[in-house]
């Protein structure tokens, strides 16, 4: 029974990662590709971790899986935000013609 739960969660997580892969391959634009690759793998790793917690069923495994989920939720938006900022400042996609960081550009970022 628990193996069934584990396999279902692992398959769902793998499917979300596959969804991110399809989005990264098929989306037409850098920022939309980043939109696909920034959100779906986090949920995929979360579901895979829950599947591992169902499969192994020890206390330390559950604690480490919870830590993995929290760390993914904290660190993944940070990396994606840095990448989006650099894409904006260097490539200037301007998809919909709106310069949303124009006010921020009056105080340009320090380049080391």
């Amino acid at each position: 029974m628990m193996d069934g739960f584990a396999a279902a969660f692992l398959t769902a997580g793998a499917l979300l990662t596959l969804l991110a892969g399809i989005g990264v391959v098929r989306f037409p634009d850098v920022t939309s590709r980043m939109h696909a690759a920034a959100k779906a793998p986090v949920l995929g790793i979360m579901l895979c971790g829950i599947g591992v917690a169902f499969a192994v069923q020890t206390v330390e495994t559950t604690i480490i899986v919870a830590l993995v989920i929290v760390l993914q939720l904290i660190t993944s938006p940070v990396g994606s935000h840095l990448l989006a900022r650099s894409i904006y400042h260097q490539l200037h996609p301007h998809i919909d013609g709106v310069d949303e960081l124009a006010a921020a550009d009056e105080d340009p970022p320090e380049t080391v």
């Binding site: 692992l10 398959t11 793998a14 990662t17 991110a20 990264v24 920034a38 499969a55 760390l71 990396g79």
Partner: protein, 104 residues
């Protein structure tokens, strides 16, 4: 079906064999996802595309390590996943700084 019933009737073999049969779909799906990320990594027209593909490839590898931990039912690979999840965004941040300085 009768094979599955006989396997479920023997308790020691049942858990390992059924689990090893049930973990094939996530592994195959993760392999396909890694191939898609690798395609974008090799083809991607701009440098941020390749960084995005590397990030997604890392996520696919992490999910694969988690599936492996579920197969072997051990805690040790999950610690590796914890460490990579802890420091994985540093690579993306450093590459983003590189793009910001160098240009796409």
């Amino acid at each position: 079906m009768t094979l599955l019933a006989t396997l479920l009737a023997t308790p020691v073999l049942a858990s390992s064999l059924t689990s090893s049969l049930m973990v094939w779909p996530p592994l195959v799906i993760l392999a396909v996802a890694a191939l898609l990320f690798t395609y974008r990594l090799l083809v991607g027209p701009t440098l941020p595309d390749r960084i995005i593909a590397l990030d997604g490839l890392l996520a696919a590898v992490l999910a694969g390590i988690l599936v492996g931990a579920a197969i072997s039912e051990s805690t040790v690979p999950i610690i590796a996943v914890l460490l990579v999840a802890l420091v994985g965004f540093v690579a993306t941040g450093a590459l983003a700084r590189y793009v910001e300085r160098r240009g796409g």
